[in-house]
Amino acid sequence: MRALARLVARADGRGGTALVELHGETPLLLRQTPTDGGVATVHLVGGAAGPLAGDDLRLEIEVGPGAAVRVHSVAASIALPGRTGAVSRMAVRAVVHTGATLHWLPEQLVAAAGCAHLAESRIELAADATLWWRDELICGRYGEAPGGAVVHTQVDYAGRPLLRQSLAVGPHAPGWAGPAVLGGAPATGSLLVVDPSQPAEPPTVEGSVARLPLAGGPATLWTATAPDAHTLRTHLTP
């Protein structure tokens, strides 16, 4: 399946946010849900199982100057095998303009056995934009070894590189489960917080969660490994 979804938000001039475009295609459907305090809240609703290998899903998000958007999803997405040799792809492209805020807080991505999945996010932030961006990856369903999955995140802040990371797991990623990468943890993820109004804090580590101030902007990356999805979520909810 191929699908393109698009979300465009603008400040409505009265302290709120209007969704001037909200368009989805099965299996990538967008639903506006009740909103609090000027933030437009949107849920991603999976209109089919998957993604299945061969699916090509794209989501474009634009948050205009001064607008605020929060995106959730109603359930974890489970990358599943499909046609032999095919890859499933979920590409998210987000542009957050000056004074705007985007919170991207979807449910987990589960890499099921035999999957071949690429999750690719590209985010462009203006100099005083605010971002919360959470990615959580579960390596296999219960008791199962995952197929191949790559979670690639590329964030630019004020035209400069802020974060580039590409986490690969599965049979084609040498050593991914070993002590240099995940150390056998089936769940891993990160939360990127870009907030020009917050002072930089020094790095800390608590157990398998690290808080890492980034070099390229007013940003902190929380990175974690965990024994399960629930613990991971606790780690990535500061």
Partner: protein, 248 residues
């Protein structure tokens, strides 16, 4: 064709750039109980090669590419310039290296790892300035902590006349051998068995170097960004220790 001796010299752990003082994250992984024996050391090395090894080798190769940019036309008369070719000359090299510096920062989330990379870059640069005084080290970005190690390595290898693939090979090989010899010291492993393990990883090392050298033709934002959550976590834990055997 480069002089084989110079390749060996730059890849040698005895090259005076302080590589022996670093365990490549192994010391913290051992303390965490994650690396305990030969098998877990092998898994550590394989994971490190595929992540930090690939990224470091790609950036060394990209810095090498920037260093030799002005000679591309003459070295390959049949090949016309591509849009992604770095501009020639000192200003072009400075701009290309500054961009690589920022891109490598963006791939190094842990402040401790950024500091280690710059500290190793400084040490390598001290050696390089004495050995190849004519090299273009002045084009490196002037950062308080020093330039990232892979960037310095790329310039050093270019000055030594090594090829891009050789540069990437030295970088990838260094990520393996540093941690492997640290493993002998930290775990008291049999050095023969650890060498056998390195022999087993030689093909993977060559493959990583070849991938890295190829990737260096891509625009900087598309260079490899292979991440390893535990490398970041281990590095920040290690940085807080008061007593340690290795600097990283």
């Amino acid at each position: 064709m480069a002089t084989p001796s110079l390749l060996l010299l730059l890849a040698d752990g005895r090259f005076p750039a302080g590589a022996h003082a670093h365990s490549g994250g192994l010391e913290a992984a051992v303390a965490a109980g994650r690396v305990t024996d030969l098998a877990s050391l092998e898994a550590f090395l394989a994971g490190r090669l595929a992540t930090a090894g690939l990224v470091g080798a790609a950036f060394a190769a990209a810095a090498h590419r920037a260093a030799v940019a002005e000679t591309v036309g003459s070295a390959h008369p049949a090949r016309s310039a591509r849009p992604s070719d770095p501009p020639a000359g000192s200003a072009g090299r400075s701009a290309a290296l500054a961009r690589l510096d920022a891109e490598l920062d963006a791939r190094t989330a842990a402040p401790a790892l950024r500091a280690v990379s710059r500290r190793q870059g400084r040490a390598l640069l001290r050696a390089g300035r004495t050995i190849w005084p004519d090299a273009r080290f002045a084009d490196l970005p002037q950062k308080p902590g020093g330039a990232h190690q892979p960037l310095v390595l790329g310039l050093l290898c270019a000055a030594a006349g090594l090829s891009r693939v050789e540069t990437a090979t030295i970088a990838a090989y260094g990520t393996l051998t540093g941690a492997a010899s640290a493993g002998v010291r930290l775990l008291g492993l049999d050095p023969y068995q650890v060498q056998a393990l390195l022999v087993g990883l030689a093909d993977a090392c060559d493959g990583t170097a070849a991938d890295a050298a190829r990737a260096a033709d891509d625009p900087p934002e598309r260079l490899p960004a292979a991440a390893a959550p535990l490398a970041d976590i281990h590095a920040e834990i290690h940085a807080t220790w008061e007593v340690r055997l290795f600097a990283s």
